[in-house]
């Protein structure tokens, strides 16, 4: 892309957009962080864009932490996310592998099923789903949200298939000539080659799971099964707290997911690149 490097106006546009997007994304977050360190009256009386009087004012965080039960929420969320991601990656790659590499009679039907999953508004089917969860005895345990989340979805399958198309069939065939079983091909060729895609999808999935309020609310009423999202909801409550404490609650909820993102982002985007190069 030599032309690109010489293209100065293009670069200017690029950096202008860059700054704009950074501002749009981070300013709202920064405002909430400021709010979290301000006292109740400070928040009311000082300009929102002004820095808080002291970044050592932890009273809001203390309140949010104590009343929100954030630590337990973090633990439960971690357990749910980890198990969901593991299961989801396995189920997702297996499904995509089958749908991409094999021809069989029910293929269209399976496809249609996954498509259906995407368009059904979950909250309208909630009563029937609740009855099932309840009758299998998973109600009010971490297994309820996990078994709901773990299922693979059409978007995932699409993306896996996009990658699978780039993985040459010849690899499979030569492995078969060596006498490898399908299971082995999946395990030692397909699954590892899909890992970059898996990394990206895992982040997207973990975000969905971490952010969901509805399922944990409904299926895990016990206080000891609170998740980060429900902790925040509970903390706010109907006749709940004031704005500064709410800001602190938001910040506390943001920290873990942001931390995960900061740590793993290198892998996500690198994963995207590698997948393409190997394709």
């Amino acid at each position: 892309m030599n032309g690109w490097k010489r293209n100065l106006p293009g670069k200017a546009v690029y950096y202008f957009m860059f700054v704009l997007i950074v501002v749009i994304v981070f300013v709202p977050i920064a405002l909430v962080v400021f709010g979290a360190f301000k006292t109740r009256t400070e928040l009311f009386e000082t300009a929102p864009f002004s820095l808080p009087g002291s970044f050592l004012n932890m009273s809001n965080f203390k309140l949010a932490y104590e009343q929100g039960d954030m630590l337990r929420g973090l633990w439960n969320t971690t357990v749910i996310v980890t198990l969901t991601l593991m299961g989801n990656a396995i189920l997702g790659t297996m499904t995509a592998y089958i749908l991409n590499r094999f021809q069989f009679r029910m293929k269209k039907a399976v496809y249609a099923l996954f498509l259906m999953a995407m368009i059904i508004p979950a909250y309208t089917t909630e009563i029937a789903r609740f009855q099932i969860i309840h009758s299998i005895g998973m109600y009010d345990s971490l297994s309820a949200p996990i078994s709901i989340y773990i299922g693979t979805d059409i978007m995932q399958i699409y993306i896996y298939m996009q990658f699978l198309e780039k993985i040459s069939n010849q690899l499979d065939e030569s492995a078969m000539l060596d006498g490898a079983s399908y299971g082995r091909i999946f395990r030692s060729i397909i699954f590892p080659l899909l890992l970059p895609a898996t990394a990206t999808l895992a982040i997207l999935k973990s975000v969905t799971v971490m952010n969901d309020v509805y399922v944990p609310f409904l299926y895990m009423p016990s206080n000891e099964l609170v998740t980060l999202s429900t902790a925040l909801m509970k903390f706010v409550g109907a006749r709940g707290s004031d704005l500064s404490a709410l800001c602190a609650g938001i910040v506390l909820v943001l920290i873990p997911s942001t931390a995960v993102y900061v740590v793993f982002q290198r892998y996500i985007f690198k994963g995207l690149m590698d997948g393409a190069v190997k394709g």
């Binding site: 892309m1 032309g3 690109w4 546009v13 690029y14 860059f18 997007i21 749009i24 994304v25 981070f26 709202p28 977050i29 405002l31 909430v32 928040l43 009311f44 929102p48 864009f49 997702g92 297996m94 089958i98 094999f102 399976v110 259906m116 995407m118 368009i119 059904i120 508004p121 309208t124 089917t125 029937a128 789903r129 773990i150 299922g151 978007m155 699409y158 990206t200 982040i203 975000v207 971490m210 952010n211 999202s229 909801m233 706010v236 704005l243 800001c247 609650g249 943001l254 997911s257 942001t258 995960v260 993102y261 900061v262 982002q265 996500i268 985007f269 995207l272 690149m273 393409a276 394709g279």
Partner: protein, 293 residues
């Protein structure tokens, strides 16, 4: 064991768990949904009676609020759709290694990573009428006259909410576009460059066809996302003032659980399903690959 038999085995065993999960948590509840939509069930009683198509009649002809809500969904759809070309442009620009590009990528996916409930509360604060950041920003640049009740003005509230939705979801689209772009082999571009193709020609003849599937996904996500949208208004306005920022999903949720008209709400959900199917089919028809032959 022959590959033929093994094939059956592997198809069955690999699909068993995912498919049964779907059947259990999705297909069965959906069948129930259809079933309920023909009844007057209130959502909790042990008895219900069949009332034929009455619920559908009511949804289609006698519920102006429901249609107003779906109009709001339409607004999410239209505005998000208008942003898709922009998202693609950003992705094309991002698809380079240039100084700062990794930070750029990091930033752009950030809104999607933060907790949705937190985002909704966050923007409630931004739109806050008393000493709220948005208003005080407007004041400081001398645009006091622009100050409005962002979440209380009937004409504005939906735009305020769509803005939150844009903030949250545009980044995902960009990243998905990026994933599609990255999957296009570089040598295609190099070959095109040798043939003397310029930047725009390369985008038109290589990029666009190369990311068709991603476009398909994003358009599909856009339709479903817009039609199923309910948590942003749910947390930020509760559909208010009145029902002015309600979406179809939120409205059916209230119908089902607040007013105990579960049968009616089920009919709404079925209508919603049909809408999604129709819209997605239209979109797919529009972007269909017609050059194939």
């Amino acid at each position: 064991m022959s590959y033929k038999i093994q094939q059956r085995w592997v198809i069955f065993s690999f699909l068993f768990v995912p498919v049964s999960l779907l059947l259990l948590f999705l297909v069965y509840p959906t069948l129930q949904l259809f079933h309920y939509s023909f009844t007057n069930w209130d959502g909790y009683s042990s008895s219900k009676s069949y009332i034929g198509l009455d619920n559908y009649k009511q949804v289609l002809f006698e519920m102006p609020d429901a249609w107003k809500s779906i109009g709001n969904n339409g607004l999410y759809f239209v505005i998000h759709t208008l942003f898709i070309p922009l998202e693609l442009m950003v992705a094309v620009l991002l698809n380079r290694s240039i100084r700062g590009s990794s930070l750029f990528r990091f930033t752009i996916l950030m809104p999607y990573v933060v907790n949705g409930v937190a985002v909704a509360y966050m923007f409630s604060y931004i739109y806050y009428p008393i000493n709220g950041p948005l208003n005080s920003l407007l004041t400081s640049v001398g645009l006091e006259s622009w100050i409005h009740g962002w979440l209380s003005d009937l004409k504005l509230v939906n735009f305020s909410l769509v803005a939150v939705s844009l903030w949250r979801y545009c980044g995902v689209h960009v990243i998905l576009f990026l994933a599609g772009l990255q999957s296009i082999p570089q040598d295609l571009y190099e070959a095109a460059a040798i043939d003397g193709a310029g930047f725009w020609r390369k985008q038109l003849y290589i990029t666009l066809p190369g990311i068709r599937r991603v476009v398909e996904i994003i358009l599909f996500m856009n339709v479903t996302g817009a039609l199923l949208q309910f948590d942003i208004p749910f947390v930020m306005t509760g559909g208010g003032p009145g029902v002015s920022s309600s979406t179809f999903g939120l409205f059916s949720l209230f119908t089902a659980f607040k007013f105990n008209n579960f049968g009616l709400a089920s009919a709404m959900a079925v209508v919603l399903l049909c809408l999604i199917i129709v819209f997605s089919s239209i979109q797919n028809w529009i972007i269909k690959d017609r050059s194939g032959n």
